[in-house]
């Protein structure tokens, strides 16, 4: 056994410990500590990725209790890639956003923000690494609570209201998820993923128990899709992302909702078994809801009068893309879905970290009419906003284009028929709508303002903001130009799942 196999557990334990430590440190020290330890976690995740790429997936048995009893952690290529990208985004969000955290929060509470952030890191990482359904449930609740905390730290009435709506929807989702886990436990007698799958293989062969299995899977799916914000349940997004402090908005839209989807994909592949899921009617429903989300989210984004609400509705549309990938199904469909998780995480984090800068030079207003010419007043933020907007539209060489290409390829591989036509139509319509509202915004921020709205340009810490943003840009271009590297990683990871 190599030393590396301890790292996944170590990342979780270290995050929990850091949460407690930041609680005691003063604000500034907590911030510096968080930056350092997150950089350290990034290195560990890279190490795990390298190890799993060369040696295959490994399972870490906690307390040396073998399979049917103990609790396990599992790391494969896909989990490691996911953790690595999540940690990089977390790090850039802290680097670019801490100035706004200082502005939005009481100074005495700054360390509590980082304590919550570290607990959230622990929850995200455990949901990625865990091999046990009930551990998944517990950390899912911790993730919900910490994201609620990150939302309400900005004490204005709107955030509390947004938080309570967010929590109500999320609690409905967790309740359903818990019921689904309990039903699966009842059916199979296990909580670890591999023993459940062995039991389910027998159950699925029996036509009497197959409907029960379908219902359990459907309950799990509904629970997790409510939590991640699939189409009919996306209405909490604009308030939540629109009023949160920028770091929270970036992390919640890029990472939190994606972690739920990743858990769903993991359950499909490792608990139920993908061939059994494809026999259920669930994937057609997910395809239709995903496409509805893509179109309706974009239409609502078109009507928004505020740049953050537009970005939030665009997040809803992009969750729709990911569920469309799951709906297309097969290895290609899931590869496209996971690729889009990465592409959207990188792009949307960048978008949510540029809009507050644009607002700052426009009299702290996020309204489009006030933002006129803000790209000229703050050139750095304008350039990075344009890059992320291009990626969202799906202009070649950026990540968004490669993701849309993957969806198209997956749909073709799935075979001809109504599903292929529907996916292509949806891709065309939603790309057009994306282009409409993002190009409109780019034109708006680069057109000359009227004399009356001219604002003064404030000096900024340029390097502290531009370097992390450049990292995100490079990741974006890497996903766009060398998509085959990531696709290969995802493919290997999915093969290790089954």
């Amino acid at each position: 056994m190599q030393f590396v196999v301890n790292f996944p557990l170590f990342t979780i334990v270290l995050s929990l410990f850091s949460g407690a430590l930041c609680f005691m440190l003063p604000g500034k020290a907590a911030r510096r500590y968080t930056m350092c330890y997150e950089a350290f976690l990034t290195v560990l995740c890279l190490w795990i990725l390298q190890y799993t790429y060369l040696n295959g997936a490994f399972t870490y048995v906690m307390g040396e209790f073998p399979a049917p009893w103990g609790n396990e952690i599992r790391a494969g290529v896909l989990e490691a890639t996911m953790a690595l990208i999540f940690m990089i985004i977390m790090l850039t969000a802290v680097f670019c956003g801490y100035r706004f955290i200082e502005k939005d929060l009481d100074l005495s509470k700054e360390n509590l923000y980082y304590a919550l952030l570290n607990l959230m890191t622990a929850a995200l990482l455990s949901m990625i690494w865990t091999n046990d359904l009930f551990t998944g449930y517990v950390f899912l609740e911790i993730l919900t609570l910490t994201s609620c905390g990150l939302l309400i730290v900005r004490e204005i009435g709107r955030t509390t209201l947004a938080a309570i709506r967010y929590m109500i929807l999320n609690l409905l989702g967790s309740g359903l998820f818990l019921l689904g886990v309990v039903l699966l436990y009842d059916l199979s007698g296990h909580l670890l993923m591999v023993p459940i799958q062995n039991a389910i293989r027998e159950l699925a062969a029996d036509p009497n128990t197959f409907p029960v299995l379908t219902i359990s899977t459907a309950i799990l799916t509904i629970g997790l899709s409510i939590k991640s914000g699939l189409f009919p349940f996306h209405f909490w997004m604009p308030d939540t992302y629109g009023w949160a402090t920028p770091t929270s908005a970036a992390i919640m839209s890029s990472l939190v909702s994606k972690a739920y989807i990743f858990l769903l994909i993991k359950i499909y592949w490792r608990v139920i078994g993908i061939d059994i899921v494809e026999r259920m009617p669930i994937r057609n429903i997910l395809l239709v809801l995903g496409i509805a989300g893509m179109v309706i989210g974009s239409v609502q984004a078109l009507h928004a009068d505020n740049i953050n609400r537009m970005a939030a509705f665009s997040s809803a549309a992009n969750i729709g893309y990911i569920f469309m990938g799951i709906g297309i199904g097969g290895v290609a469909g899931y590869t496209a879905a996971i690729f889009h998780i990465f592409a959207h995480a990188v792009t949307k984090a960048m978008l949510f970290l540029t809009t507050p800068r644009l607002a700052e030079v426009s009299g702290d207003s996020l309204l489009f009419k006030e933002l006129q010419g803000s790209g000229l007043r703050d050139r750095d933020a304008g350039v990075f906003f344009t890059i992320s907007a291009f990626s969202m539209i799906g202009i070649p060489i950026f990540a968004g284009f490669a993701a849309k290409l993957q969806f198209g390829l997956a749909a073709v591989e799935d075979g001809a028929g109504w599903r292929l036509i529907l996916v292509f139509l949806a891709l065309a319509v939603s790309s057009m709508l994306n282009a409409l509202y993002f190009v409109r915004t780019i034109i708006r921020i680069y057109s000359r303002p009227n004399e009356s709205t001219r604002m003064e340009v404030r000096p900024h810490h340029r390097a502290g903001y531009n370097v992390p943003m450049l990292v995100l840009t490079v990741m974006n271009l890497f996903l766009g130009l060398f998509s085959w590297v990531t696709v290969d990683l995802i493919h290997r990871g999915l093969m290790m799942f089954s």
């Binding site: 009930f134 009435g157 209201l161 109500i168 967790s174 309740g175 818990l178």
Partner: protein
Amino acid sequence: MFENLWINGEEAVAIILFGIGFTMLLFQRNLLKKLIGMNIMDTGVFLFLASMGYIEGRKAPIVTNGVLDTAAYINPVPAGLVLTGIVVSVSVTAVMLSLVIRLYKRYHTLDLDEIYVLSKHQMEDR
């Protein structure tokens, strides 16, 4: 069909409780009633787990009188899951209650629709 429902009476009641709690959490306008609904929903799941974990005629999983046969005892895992679930549910309730207190201090009502209307009128933040 109905005999099966009778045999699994506890589970059926648990699912009905879950449904009651779920609809309350979704449709009640009063925030406190929503929270009570959430607790009923969780309790439904716990009842389901506890009744599944109990087998008639077996004892709690503590070795008594030197009997080592596993058939004499019940499985302790469901009880452990219920305990974990209760802890999670309590902490979520605490956080939600603190949010409700905050909202009540600001808007002086517990009706979610009214709060929404009030917050639209108060354009204090942008």
